[in-house]
Amino acid sequence: MSPIDSAIPYYPVNDFGPLMKGLVIGGVGILHVFLAQFAIGGGMLMWYFERLGQRGLEDARTFVDGYFRLLVLVSFVVGALTGVAMWFTTIQVGARTIGLMIDEFHWLWATEWVWFAVEITAGYAFYRCGPRLGGRARLRLLALYAVASWMSLFWINGILAWQLTPGRWLDGGGVWAGFFNPSFWPSLLFRTAVSTTLGALVGCIVINTMDLPRERRAALIRRAARFAAPIAAMPVFALWFLAVLPGDSRSWLLGGSMPMTMFVGVAAGASFLIGGYAVVGLILQRLYINGATATLLLGLAFGATAAGEFVREGARKPYTVRGVLYSTSIRPAEVAALRRAGATASDPYPLRERYPTEQLARGARVERALCDACHTLRGANALVELTRTWTDDQLRLNLAKLQRTKGFMPPFAGDAEDVEALVQLLRWERDDRPAVAAAPPTSPEILAQIARWLDEAGTAPASDPRGAVK
């Protein structure tokens, strides 16, 4: 049978060494989100400054022409390409997830693409011809650029928010129920506020590089700082976002999972510092901000973005699309069949490494199919370290009742022999891969016990798709 014909799609799995796959996609994703949001806020800021320039503030127009070159060179190039990189990286991490997103939302994705094309065209037209155009054409081009870039956010935001809160789409509500899902609006408003703040901070850095007397730079900074004002509303959007999250996800962010809670704290703390400086210092006190401080705040904003994206990704666990697809790229409805047939019975891809016993080879295949998306054996989020001190029976129990062991883990999608093979693999790895496996053959009693634990845990997740813990 060709790999293309299996009922459940099995894709080849790549090993990124000590790097957890989530770190790979996180690194690319955070950079992309940061640059793309800067491009949106930057577009809005330029339209505003162009308008100021045409109403008599000459320095504002000088700023627009200088700032725009930076925007083009950074956000167009790296932003556009990291967007493509996101696509490729997502395929590496969760091909089935991106496939489902494409299947469900391809027309909306194509709509987003049209807006992106308008954004790029308007942007380049301004870049090439802006200095030679009249005021009205300049203003219109910048307005078109700003609107198109925000529309790009509008469409992609709905698709990303759907992954976390599919809402009425789960009841067969169709593409619009999925798109305008519960976290659509808070997420869109939150990201818009982030965008304008990033635009303002980069604007302040650029203003500090302009060859102008300090008081004229200060006048420009006061105007740019207004674009950071929406950050004051971010706590409201964040609380709104928290309120519409599924109950289990919310509980992890609010103390149920300390790493998640700490990332929430980092995002909130950094945003508070930026917001406090921008609103109190720059807007109310009308303070001057030099380039170094603005750069520091921008660095904090990057940290807040990184932490926020980590929280958004982590809150989806154990799913990549809530209620539909686990992070293992297995659908909830497929777990029962895999419990009967085994996790890797249909996996067409061989192992690249040799193992001393068949059981260890099976364990390696199970690890690749069920664990590799979020864990490594010895690197980041290492299974060997997470389970090092567990006894064998404890390991068997915890794997068999995986969704009960940790609420953000999916149910184990294999049979008793898969559990035992994985247990033996982890012991063998813990013991630094002895040439001959020390474990005696697994007794039928142990397999029967594991099977009982699997049955007790059932095939359903710990929480229902809307987040109520069972």
Partner: protein
Amino acid sequence: MWPFDGSIGGPVESLWLALYVASFALHAVLVGCVAAGAGYALVAAVRRSADPIAARTRDWLPFLLGAGITAGVGPLLFLQLLYQRRFYTANLLMGPRWGAVVPALIVGFYALYLAKASEPRRRLALGVATACFAFVGWSWTELHQVMLDDAGWRAMYAAGARFHGDAAILPRLAIWSGAMVALFAAVSAWPAAAAERRRLAGLALAGLIACGAAAAAAIALGGFDPAHGWTYLLIAAAVTAVLAWAWTARRPDGRGLTVATAATAAALIAGSVVREAPRLALIERDRATAVGAGGLPVFVVTLAIGAAAIAWVVRTARGAP
């Protein structure tokens, strides 16, 4: 009209295929101009000739690459609807070596800016950019072949091989290289003066001849597929383009350029269908979720708005003094 008549699945699949071919052709024009244009500008820089075609090309290359990448998102989207499992599997099999196309494009992009801004570094920058684009073109051709070779996936994965040595890769690359030169010439000839058009006509003829020779080699390797007549249309369009370019070389101010451009465009569309024909049988058909997905009217309206907006932008930019 085949293959857009529902014969490859249903009407939705036909629409995806039509949009795939159309967006792929647009993407091919832009990246063709970038790859061949970077090569042309590199040759001019090495020869230290004050070539106005090279100067204009250098000036437009960063924009053309940005537009080419943006236009590439369209076919990338529809490709995932038509051949999802194959595309993802090929991505994963080639792994990080496939992902290297992104940093290669970033390096190529900044190299184009550098070539535009710095004369002393121009040759190096254009050399780097051309190498980057050649790598990306080779990678795409290889990915295309990996997608087709499902019988070899297991062995490729087991061996941890990131390269796919397929006999069809070189002829395909050669076909595309020739076509890219012809596309570059067709786009660059419009703002060119008479003497420059003659030179571009020669370049286009060389590209088309190289393309034809490589296609003959590919046919010898893989057999002739009339693709329901599209291959004959491709041949007719290519022959017309050759004659029109010859006419343009003799009379640069005549209508030869219009005919050559139209024939090149027709050849590109026909060539895109011919390229697709062998794998149409591999389109994944039972995709109920994707076929039933909503949002098409919004896309159509947005496409109309977007096309109007882009037309307005172009008109505004052309009206700049």
